[in-house]
Amino acid sequence: MQTQLGGPLAPEPVPVHFAYVARYEYSDVVVQNDNFLRLSPYDDRYQTPAGGGSEVATVPAGRRITYPDRLGNVVNRIRITAPHRELIIAATGRVCLNDHAPVLDDAPLASIAYGLDAQEFLTASLLADPETVRAAAREAVGSATTLLETVSGVVRWVHDNIRYERGNTSVNTTAADVLQSRSGVCQDMTHLGLAMLRAYGVPARYVSGLLTRQPGETHAWLEFLHPERGWLPADPTRGIMELNGTDYLKFAVGRDYSEVPPVSGSFVSKGEGWLNFTTAEVFFDRETVSVDDALALLEGN
């Protein structure tokens, strides 16, 4: 099977800038803080990172190394050894967003043979285990037999049956937990969608990023593997498959959230740490964005 990536795209790429900031507090002095940041634009056919202006920084400053992980995410690892009780992480970037071409090629699921590389997106990951959601997946998919119908059924079911509610779930909430509580945030709905698609043999992965027209916090959606068109997006939280590409700014992909959180890491301290504040902003009309713009988002907070 020839995998043909790309198709006709909307003619006008939209350049945008983004700024992200997070502040962490600690109950005692931290002597080492080692963080992995996945806050750089992903490079694919829907978006093209534009150089000059893609930056990550911390206060206090640390030493950084930038590398691609095995799924093509850009990782910035920053290690801070200046003693601190507060850590600020800021990221900015410029990216050209392309609209998504409509997906027309559907195929019966039974006729699709995915390769070995797709296997890891079919099996259980830490937070999205297909075994735990099979019954609900049957209900969601119903009599659908094709790839696009299956994905559409899952996306709509999650949107219609899971109540968007903050505060009841955490970074450790699994797809099974979400099914149980019938509520959660974008990350939880995405995990449930992933598990259901995997249960039907559709390779699916987690996407972390921003909604350009509703920034403020990071968003999560999913991608499923189309045998000819490659990875295609769908958003269970909003219940849609035909995404407007300029609405979404993608940072990283993984098997679920646990592999690609925007910030992860460890610190050495006698105390505890917590996220005190985080926000993000997207600018459609700016010529440049700097780390100072990201830090300015902290003002008043």
Binding site: I65, Y67, D69, R70, R77, A124
Partner: protein
């Protein structure tokens, strides 16, 4: 009496052939044991244990409980010819790893894939562009080997951060020879001088003459404190705790002491989180105000996944093939490898990337089915946490059961120690530390409850 035992059953016994006959190198030793006889052997074992207790030769997992290092005093014998291969293989590996670390931090490394290398917990971005004294990262190296028979040794693991155990190699041989000198009859045991090698290594790393060196211990209640005390006394260097050290106004490391604080040139550190023990030490180190042995950053090659690329490091940096083989290992980032491992769970060992001291090692054939399937599930969910290795059926040795007066077979490994000084010279200390598994286990680790055995290289 030794040959009467049924322990010859294991096909890879170091001492006995499968038919129960004694291997040539062990003949003198077995004769000596036979002529001492069981009651005398029990008495001598008691004497050796008594000497160990007198000297507080301990590995204490609980500081309230006095526990000497469990030792089987019958030595393991390594013929000089076999040792020569081990020794060259260890030195080769140490040099290649050191070259790699230098490239990793101060140049461009192309051997290990970036996502493997830079995601490693012990890779330290802060050390980029920092050259340690005399370009030596790995001053003290501990390598775990198993014997596959016929003099073929296979590497299981590298220990590059704070390798421990050389004292057990020395002290077990010293006590054993003291209590049962008859066992050495007919053997020419190759000697070594770790005092000279370490002192020379310390001196070669410092700019000035007669540098002041200290050994930094975690605590007198730590499990390896015997070793810290023994080595500091042997080398004539001061034993310090973290609270003794501070960074002075001149940016250098000072030790608090009666009769006046003093400046420290080199820290032989036996702790991992240096900054927790001595705040500001990292900065002093990066300013070249103090030498650390081992250097910071060596843990990058302690990672069990990075281990897979060490043979490539040897080829790349030394332009020669690896002298010693290492256990066949699987990178579980590859879908094909994951598939293979899931199909062959009952013949593999799973290790977590960051484990040490026998922690995070799962010998799947030795586990019950429920445990195995839970691990399989974890492997599917988080393959990046693990590597898999082929299970090796390595050698056994005989250990004397003092109460029954019989010998029985137990699995043994071999941890070999080497030092590298500032002139790039490597010394591999003949013998190493033989660690003995508990009955019915293949895990040979002191932290996991195993015992040890003196090991002699003999001519």
């Amino acid at each position: 009496m030794l040959t009467d035992t049924s322990t010859a059953g294991h096909p890879l016994n170091e001492c006995l052939n499968p038919d129960g006959s004694v291997k040539p190198v062990y003949r003198n030793l077995v004769n000596a044991i036979d002529s001492l006889g069981v009651p005398e052997l029990q008495r001598r074992w008691g004497d050796a244990n008594h000497r160990a207790a007198l000297d507080a030769f301990t590995f204490m997992l609980d500081p309230r409980e006095f526990r000497t290092v469990p030792t089987d005093w019958m030595p393991r014998l390594i013929p000089e010819g076999e040792w020569d291969v081990i020794s060259r293989g260890v030195a080769q590996r140490l040099k290649a790893i050191n070259r790699f670390l230098l490239d990793l931090y101060c140049g461009e490394q192309e051997v290990v894939p970036p996502d493997v290398m830079y995601s490693c917990q012990y890779f330290n971005p802060e050390l980029l562009d920092y050259r340690p004294a005399r370009d030596v990262f790995v001053h003290i190296y501990g390598i775990d080997l198993v014997h596959m028979g016929d003099g073929r040794y296979v590497i299981l693991e590298d220990n590059l951060r704070i390798p421990s155990g050389i004292t057990y190699q020395m002290k077990s041989a010293e006590i054993g020879l003291g209590a049962i000198p008859e066992l050495a009859a007919g053997y020419d045991i190759i000697p070594y001088d770790i005092r000279a090698a370490y002192q020379e290594m310390f001196a070669s790393l410092c700019e000035k003459d007669s540098p002041v060196c200290v050994l930094l211990t975690d605590s007198k209640y730590g499990s390896a404190f015997f070793e810290h005390r023994y080595l500091s006394e042997l080398f004539g260097i001061t034993l310090v705790e973290g609270s003794d050290l501070y960074i002075g106004a001149n940016g250098r490391v000072w030790a608090r002491a009666m009769g006046g604080d003093f400046e420290v040139d080199l820290i032989y550190r036996r702790v991992e989180d240096l900054e927790l023990f001595v705040p500001g030490l990292t900065e002093a180190y990066l300013d070249h105000k103090v030498v650390l042995v081992n250097a910071m950053g060596t843990g990058a090659c302690d990672d069990k996944l990075v281990f897979l690329w060490v043979p490539d490091m040897i080829e790349h940096y030394l332009g020669e093939p690896a002298i010693l083989d290492q256990a066949v290992s699987y990178d579980l980032r590859s879908p094909a490898n994951r598939e293979y491992v899931l199909q062959n769970l009952d013949s593999l060992v799973l290790k977590t990337r960051q484990g040490y001291g026998g922690l995070g090692v799962f010998i799947l054939p030795d586990l019950d089915k429920g445990y195995r399937s839970r691990l399989a599930q974890q492997l599917i969910e988080q393959p990046q946490v693990f590597i898999a290795q082929e299970t090796l059926d390595f050698s056994q040795h005989l250990v004397f059961d003092e109460s029954s007066g019989e010998f029985e077979g137990r699995y043994v490994d071999l941890r070999v120690f080497a030092v590298q000084n500032g002139h790039g010279e490597v010394t591999v200390f003949p013998g190493g530390l033989t660690r003995v598994s508990e009955a019915n286990s293949r895990v040979t680790n002191n932290s996991s409850g195993g015992s040890c055995k003196p090991s002699w290289v003999v001519r």
